[in-house]
């Protein structure tokens, strides 16, 4: 630690006494720096080690050459997403900042795609090259042949560019590969997503919490995990439905190790039990919902006895859970989950979860889900002109009537491969390692092969980035302005991202890169007028908040925006077609989908195969953080979880190296097997994001294995177009 002289003097001064110890309150970055004096600065910003955007405070000191160094990151106590705390990844943000393997300079490919040969060039050269190529492609194929795939913050700036060019072919992996399916299903039911900045679950006040495949704790979303722990501390009853004994399951009163793929059966049975035992919130159902009678009819067939067989769970447990939900309703919540792309019928499962919450009266109730904060943000686009109408209709929604505006990455990919209905020849890949994010990576490779121009905007040399023709190195969140952000927790507020230090190497903020490209493409009117910070100031003015306040505190609340629970004068608004909670969905019926969810069995593994399940680690965000020194140290590789009895049958010992082969004969490995009682016998589990193939990621390279390579098949959800990925099976091969 930098044991500075200033600190030393202070110790000397204070060693006489000073007993205070309640964490020193944080009111303002300036005030704290002044209190500590000397060469330390505090910069409030927003973490981007994952997408929760926690308020963070960077502590910046000067090193002996007088250069600014970020020495520590802490949670901002004023910020509702962090509540003063950062998770392991947030703490390790410095590791990304100072990672020697970062992309440092713009590069243009010189070798064949994928062989990693690049020349470093100046920004001007890289941007000119990109612009020239884009112009060529547009001249030949039209502007709609330019597209983007993104996950994370650079996407916003490039969305602007791509739209300004006249293309609507923009897709975010967060929809089809993650939570889009759920969002669409909840919009069909409640007319709202279950949350924007975070799920609106009132965990800390809940009496019963149902987690369905959601492994809070391992799935580290800061404030939510904090509230989960609070619930555990409060003695809430936690019912954890998961084929694997997750950390959350270890806190649960009831762990239901469900047979994978049968969750909808359980949910519908619960609905049946609750309705037939009249445990639902009758007044609430009467007042706010439509379609109760149809629901009641539709779920009659799902008896506990049948369910026990289907889900491989004890009947008594199934019934007990339903009764507990009924007993404590409405102070109960069925967590909507996040990653919902499981089996290809996921929208209906998400609907069943939404409906269960609805009949228990959880929406808008204490301990259930709080109502959206009522913060008014004036729309602000800094005087950009309207985007031209896309020359040809975008392909990104495929034939899926309820696909969201974030687009379907796999449909974009298919279009690139087939060239139908029109060719797509240029692709911006912003902040996503596509090969690890999308199922069937072979198809992703094929799509890349079909491109005339691939541009990667990223921080780390991921395998995907290292396939690009032009690599534009973005700086990390600690080196740039982003935002302002709307933060929608119980209260609405405004968060900020601002640089703790100047960009290292020759990296640039994504807003600058996109803006410069706009200029080069002759779209000056869409470029950033002056600086992003100046734009943020104008945005703050438009939103009616003081920019200096946000910059100094890191977060300001919109006063009076917190209206969490239903009261006589705080009535919920449901933005569905009927204006009510739609237990029965006419919209779905119109598109000939089941208006009330039905259970469809999922295909199980063949003899000798296991269903491949994947999930998260609390110390990594997908594949993005594996190379971070502090996180890599804690978890450098993943393991395959295998039930102990199965391991015995296969003659496998804990930590032994194995290979995995999927139904399509794709093999990965070697990887260590974790022999455990913590998982069912019919599935194996691994943490997603490992097995990096890019040799430039020196730490992460080839540590552990990549689940995505085994996910050669996916089943598309017909309602939303989400890609169900838990439909792959693997065999375990002993390493010789």
């Amino acid at each position: 630690m930098a044991f500075s002289r200033r600190n030393f003097l202070k110790y000397a001064a204070m060693s006489a006494g000073g007993t205070l110890i309640a964490d020193a309150p944080f009111f303002s970055a300036r005030a704290r720096a002044e209190a500590e004096g000397g060469n330390v600065r505090y910069v409030p910003t927003s973490c981007e080690m994952c997408f929760w955007k926690c308020g963070a405070i960077a502590k910046v000191e000067k090193d002996k050459d007088g250069k600014d160094v970020v020495v520590k990151l802490e949670g901002n106590p004023l910020h509702p997403q962090s509540m003063g705390r950062l998770c392991a990844r947030g703490q390790a943000g410095i590791g990304q900042l100072y990672d020697p393997d970062r992309l440092k300079r713009p590069m243009i490919r010189t070798g064949k795609r994928g062989d990693g040969k690049y020349k470093e060039v100046s920004w001007d050269e890289a941007l000119t090259y990109t612009a020239d190529k884009l112009k060529e492609i547009i001249a030949k194929n039209g502007p709609e042949s330019v597209s983007m795939m993104s996950h994370g913050s650079p996407g916003d700036y490039f969305t602007n560019l791509v739209k300004a060019l006249g293309s609507g072919n923009i897709a975010f992996a967060s929809f089809a590969q993650c939570k889009g399916i759920r969002d669409a299903a909840w919009e069909l039911t409640f007319g709202h997503k279950p949350g924007s900045s975070c799920e609106r679950v009132d965990l800390k006040n809940s009496r019963v919490i149902v987690l369905l495949g959601t492994h809070l704790g391992e799935n580290m979303h800061n404030s939510q995990t904090q509230e989960f722990a609070e619930a555990v501390g409060n003695g809430a009853k936690i019912i954890c439905v998961d084929p694997r004994y997750s950390t959350a399951a270890s806190k649960a009163s009831l762990w239901l190790p469900i047979k994978p793929g049968t969750d909808t059966a359980l949910l519908l049975t619960w609905i049946n039990i609750i309705i037939s035992e009249e445990l639902h919130d009758k007044a609430y159902v009467e007042q706010y919902t439509i379609g109760f009678e149809q629901l009641k009819e539709a779920v009659k067939q799902y008896t506990p006895e049948w369910c026990a067989k289907e889900t491989d769970l004890p009947e008594a447990d199934i019934v007990e859970a339903a009764r507990d939900l009924g007993r404590y309703a409405p102070h109960v919540v069925i967590h909507p989950g996040r990653h919902a792309a499981w089996y290809g019928n996921d929208a209906q499962r998400s609907r069943a979860m939404a409906i269960l919450n609805a009949i228990l009266g959880a929406w808008g109730r204490e301990g259930g889900m709080w109502l959206p904060a009522n913060g008014k943000f004036a729309s602000f686009n800094d005087g950009y002109p309207k985007y031209p109408d896309p020359a040809k209709p975008p392909v990104i929604k495929g034939d899926y009537p309820f696909a969201g505006g974030e687009g379907l990455t796999q449909v974009l990919r298919d279009t690139i491969i087939t060239g139908k209905p029109y060719p797509i020849k240029a692709l911006f890949v912003c902040g996503t390692d596509m090969l690890k994010a999308l199922p069937a990576p072979d198809l992703t490779r094929k799509a890349i092969d079909n491109l005339d121009l691939m541009i990667a905007v990223d921080i780390m040399p991921s395998e995907t980035a290292m396939m690009a023709d032009v690599i534009l190195p973005e700086c990390t969140y600690l080196e740039r302005h982003d935002g302002l952000f709307k933060v929608e927790a119980r209260q609405a507020g405004v968060g900020i991202r601002q640089p703790a230090i100047e960009p290292l190497h020759e990296t640039k903020p994504a807003w600058w890169i996109a803006s410069e490209l706009c200029k080069k493409m002759g779209l000056t009117e869409y470029a950033v007028k002056d600086s992003w910070e100046a734009r943020m100031k104008r945005q703050a003015a438009a939103w009616g908040v003081k920019y200096e306040d946000v910059a100094d505190k890191g977060y300001v609340t919109i006063p009076g925006s917190e209206k969490p629970y239903i009261t006589a004068d705080n009535q919920p608004e449901f933005k569905t077609t009927s204006g009510k909670i739609e237990l029965f969905s006419a919209d779905l019926e119109k598109h000939s989908f089941d208006p009330v969810p039905k259970y469809e069995p999922t295909e199980g593994p063949e003899q000798g195969m296991y269903r491949l399940l994947y999930g998260r680690s609390p110390v990594h965000t997908f594949s993005r953080t594996i190379n971070d020194q502090w996180l890599w140290e804690i978890q450098p590789e993943n393991e395959v979880w295998l039930n102990k009895k199965e391991a015995e049958a296969l003659g496998l010992k804990d930590r032994q190296l194995v290979k995995l082969e999927n139904q399509d004969k794709v093999t990965v490995g070697p990887v260590r097997v974790k022999v455990t009682e913590r998982i069912r016998r019919d599935c194996v589990y691994m943490v997603h994001g490992f097995g990096h193939n890019s040799p430039r990621l020196k730490r992460a390279h080839q540590r552990g294995v990549d689940d995505q390579q085994l996910i050669t098949r996916y089943k598309v959800d017909p309602i939303t177009g989400g890609t169900g990925m838990r439909v792959n099976f693997v065999k375990i091969i002993k390493e010789a």
């Binding site: 804690i634 978890q635 455990t676 009682e677 913590r678």
Partner: protein, 323 residues
């Protein structure tokens, strides 16, 4: 049980390995030089029949040399050797480490003065350095007192090597009051063994052979008590001696050490017994000499094995662990 630890340090997990052969050698040489101090002094003090001068004066020099080598190895183990002077800027009465540092300060002068006093005339005559000769002359009258002091100091030194470990409450194998006694008997018997090897006359050799028999018998009894004490102790102590009696191949070295001790020490006794009771001519026969030296070497091996086994196995022992 499934155990998952994030944040363990390699120096302590899965097993502690803080001290290694360097410390074991130090403990062995420390005990041995203590044994030599005591034994050589006894050689002076015993009612002489046939005084073997050559034997004693060499030994008096050997003791400080061995101790120095031991301390050299100990110093090798220090992670901050240049900071060693701090040992002498503090005296910590509860720290046996601190005592150790200070004890050495008292023992060295005793050893050296004694060695000076013990220099035989013919050797002294060969010394060129006058002041050394004068010092030796000055010490000569105090030989008897110095010898008595050396008997005590040698015992203290040998005991000390065991005390250091025995105060470490966190390591049940070491945390036994019998350990210092074990190291004492082992140090003394090793001292006697070296006397046997170095001594020229048959009479001296036989004398120390007899002494050694009793010391080895004592050592064996103490060794048994050491294990017994652990066996009847709490769970941690009982667990601590497990490596010595385990058939698991991971603990094979410890099992082997018990076998070696179980063979070496009794065998040495038998050999010595044979020598003492055997018919002897005036001069030792070559085979008789060989036998004597062989048995002495067995004793030395036993002494070293005890130190190594205790140093290493002690670090495997601990309280609780993860259960």
């Amino acid at each position: 049980m499934e155990l998952n630890i994030v944040g363990a340090n390699a120096i302590t997990y899965p097993a502690m390995h803080v001290w290694d052969w360097r410390v074991a050698i130090y403990l062995f040489l420390g005990g041995l030089s203590g044994g030599l101090m005591t034994m050589s002094a006894i050689n002076y003090l015993r009612p002489k029949k046939n005084f073997d001068s050559s034997c004693s004066w060499q030994i008096t020099l050997l003791a400080p040399i061995l101790l120095s080598i031991g301390l050299f190895f100990l110093n090798l183990d220090l992670e901050r050797k240049l900071n060693a002077f701090w040992f002498y800027l503090a005296f910590k009465p509860v720290s046996p480490m601190s005592w150790g540092a200070w004890i050495v300060l008292f023992i060295y002068p005793l050893m050296i003065l004694y060695a000076l006093a013990a220099l035989p005339k013919e050797v002294k005559a060969g010394i060129k350095n006058r002041s050394l000769r004068n010092a030796s002359d000055a010490m000569q009258p105090h030989l008897l007192k110095l010898a008595k002091a050396n008997v005590i100091a040698g015992i203290l030194l040998a005991i000390y090597t065991g005390i250091l470990l025995s105060t470490l409450v966190a390591r049940p194998l070491w945390n036994s009051a019998i350990l210092p006694v074990l190291f004492l008997t082992s140090g003394m018997s090793a001292g006697a063994a070296v006397m046997i090897i170095v001594a020229k006359t048959k009479e001296t050799k036989l004398f120390f052979t007899k002494v050694d028999i009793w010391l080895i018998v004592a050592e064996l009894i103490v060794l048994l008590l050491f294990f017994y004490g652990h066996y009847v102790g709490d769970a941690a102590h009982r667990q601590a001696i497990m490596p010595f009696f385990s058939s698991s191949h991971e603990f094979f070295p410890y099992f082997l050490s018990i076998v070696v001790l179980g063979v070496c020490l009794p065998l040495a006794i038998v050999l010595k017994f044979l020598e003492v009771t055997g018919e002897h001519t005036e001069e030792l026969t070559t085979s008789g000499l060989l036998l004597m030296n062989a048995s002495a070497v067995l004793v030395l091996i036993g002494g070293a094995v005890i130190r190594f086994a205790v140093v290493y196995a002690g670090q495997l022992s601990g309280y609780g662990g993860y259960m």
